[in-house]
Symmetry: C2
Subunit: 428 residues, 2 copies
């Protein structure tokens, strides 16, 4: 049996998962590869902290990356530290030394995936990153190796477990956003500073990665227009339910003759659609190709062992490639993307506004919409007895620019107290 030594950069949730997984499934994995895998070194920064962890005895802990990059026995380096710059520097050094790399780092791949793949190819090493999108769910490799006969039209994902947990909880229990966030933090689904998740940045990085592969276009996180769930109120969830929808944070990449759009925002999606049923902290990615039609991938988008499952499968692929003396880095093709102006992106919208409970309010609002040629699909005004009332309007598909302009004008009306929310309806 051949032998391969690997190193881990980082030993947190995912790194420890990789160690545990290899302990659990080692024999099955080694039998498939005819290769023994040894985790030789692990990079950490706080020696006392990790000496307390019960790691296998034969693993050498180090706080100096040079110990790893200069160890010629180490053929594969698994980067599970997070953050972009230090990780990028380490990975480039590994490539130069002829080491293949597996990474779970979406921050890094969303910004530098393409140059790193090019560099790996030049250095004749392998670079794989299945875990960077939707954790354990196989989606990165299927995108470029199983769906690549298609022209991709649409990729829609629920790719952030924290926000899906919060929204599902608000939907199932009627609790407020604040309470749901607090519960998610208590249960370890959300970080102390939840910005990265609730503001949609994390989902934005993942959709940039998938769209780069699916659309063969040089896209980065910068190209994604991002909006979070902080503004979703229990009222919105209930109105959605009454109208036959649920609210999800969707990451949406679309491509047609006019160009590409990349968006993350909360959206109405009709009950009964497979994405609407993705509950709790689960993730799902819905893909539409011009031949395969609609395909969905569903599973756990995070967690120690699920994410390690993807990381170790990548390691296995690298070893299979090494064993036959090739690198798996294909020549990826990337075009310069033509991004659609965000103002031109059309969708039906749900609008909720707080207004004076007075005659003429409805006609003033609908006059503004009519002026912008926005047509109303349905309108609910709750029978209020107080002096303020709530109006909920569903408008037909309209361009974001027009909708935003109309909302500004409506907000300026004397009878309108505030625009409480404007949420797109995603029709798939």
């Amino acid at each position: 049996m051949k032998k391969v030594s690997i190193a881990l950069l980082g030993c947190g949730t995912v790194g420890k998962g990789v160690i545990d997984l290899l302990a659990m499934n080692g024999p099955l994995i080694e039998e498939q590869l005819d290769t023994e895998i040894t985790i030789k070194r692990v990079l950490i920064r706080d020696m006392p902290k990790y000496e307390q962890m019960e790691l296998p005895d034969d693993i050498l802990l180090t706080t100096d990356f040079a110990d790893i990059v200069n160890d010629d026995e180490i053929e594969i380096v698994v980067e599970v530290m997070g953050s972009a710059d230090f990780a990028k520097d380490c990975i480039e050094q590994c490539f130069k030394k002829g080491k293949s790399v597996v990474s779970a780092n979406k921050d890094l791949i969303a910004d530098y995936g393409m140059p790193l793949l090019k560099m790996a190819k030049e250095c004749n090493v392998d670079f794989q990153f299945e875990a960077s999108v939707a954790g354990g769910i196989p989606i990165v490799r299927p995108m470029y190796s199983s769906l690549n006969s298609n022209t991709m039209e649409e990729i829609i994902g629920i790719m952030n477990g924290t926000t899906n947990y919060i929204l599902s909880n608000m939907t199932d229990t009627g609790m407020s956003y604040e309470t749901a966030l607090k519960e998610a933090q208590e249960k370890g689904y959300a970080e102390a500073d939840p910005t990265n998740d609730v503001s949609g940045y994390d989902a934005g990085r993942k959709i940039a990665i998938l769209a780069t592969l699916g659309f063969h276009s040089a896209l980065t996180f910068n190209d994604v227009s991002v909006e979070g769930i902080e503004n979703i109120a229990q009222e919105d969830i209930q109105h959605a339910r009454e109208m036959g929808y649920v609210i999800k944070l969707l990451a949406i990449a679309r491509q047609d003759g006019d160009g590409i759009s990349l968006n993350v925002h909360p959206a109405f999606i009709r009950k009964g659609h497979p994405l609407a049923n993705v509950g709790g902290a689960y993730n799902a990615v819905y893909v539409r190709g011009n031949c395969v039609g609609d395909v969905m991938f569903y599973g756990q988008g995070a967690g120690s062992l699920p994410t390690a499952s993807a990381v170790v499968s990548d390691v296995m692929n690298v070893i299979l490639h090494c064993n036959i003396n090739i690198t798996g880095s294909r020549d990826f093709v990337w075009h310069d993307p033509k991004l659609k102006p965000q103002d031109s992106i059309c969708a039906p919208y749900y609008l909720r506004m707080v207004v004076d409970n007075a005659p003429g309010v409805l006609s003033s609002i609908s006059a503004v919409l009519a002026q912008h040629k926005i047509s109303i699909r349905s309108l609910i005004q709750k029978d209020e007895t107080t002096e303020i009332a709530e109006i909920v309007i569903l408008i037909d598909s309209s361009a974001a620019g027009l909708v935003n302009q109309s909302l500004k004008e409506i907000e300026d009306l004397a009878c309108v107290r505030k625009i409480a929310n404007a949420i797109r309806v995603i029709e798939v």
Copy 2:
């Protein structure tokens, strides 16, 4: 740009789909591969029929397989004829001539997949068959290249579109099995002789293929215990609904310390489970690995272009492998399977029986169950005014052998007219 010539064996639904797909997406595909793909020859048997089809002019039609196997320019052969023996013979001849093969043929792969993969390896050619399971849905390659870090515990699929269409229709509209089958035939979802689909054979072949790959075990269609949907009545669907379930034809592969079981049968699955929401002719495969947890793959399991999507992706993988001078045939590992006796397989059951509307019936039936230590979870006796009544019982998880023995004894009771159905409840 490099050039590769391929041949098709067969030009029916899938073969024509391959021709259409290459016409639609050719440039995108060739750019990814840096290789021009030409369909040089197509094997058919009825020349006049295919001369009438509007196939591209440069394709050479032939009724003689020798024209293809002896053409040294043809590097890849796409087998989309169906049936096992002639196809197997053709594929072996291709391998011997150094040609790689892509096949969509589940009948063939379920019985001869393993020996063919071995032979491909010996002949240093590639053999791929993504389309043989669940059409366009990527599942075969993800199973062996993305989930292979896991010990697979369970694979549960809705893998036959015809039966899912029929059952979904019965559920949504209240129609009888016979009417739903007739409608499926009229709409082209079911063949004139629907046996292969409605009796569960087609799903059985697919689960044999997936379990072979997922469990690393030498399994064939022969190892699958198969039961179809012919006996599902509208009453069963309605009772299921009342109890919070839907009825689906499931293909189930399970593995634990005691061995492997492979089954196809109609089953109760609780509403709200992702598999319960798979409607119409859609397919889904639900996989549980010991690390990744639950993962589901969903999409169109049949159809001309969806299936061609999988076939052409396979062709693309073969070309990528050829371009770097390797075959993609990995060394698959297969153990001799230890199959569990079917009698030992446990599940809760739904039982429906038609009985005399007379005192003492319930106590006689429950006495038989009690004698076999089968406990009743719930029981419904409809308040009937006629002389026959219907009893519906949900029993706790019990071994199939005991259940069948009890049902025999219950059927022998004088007060019992017939056991109308016994359907397993699948708890995932």
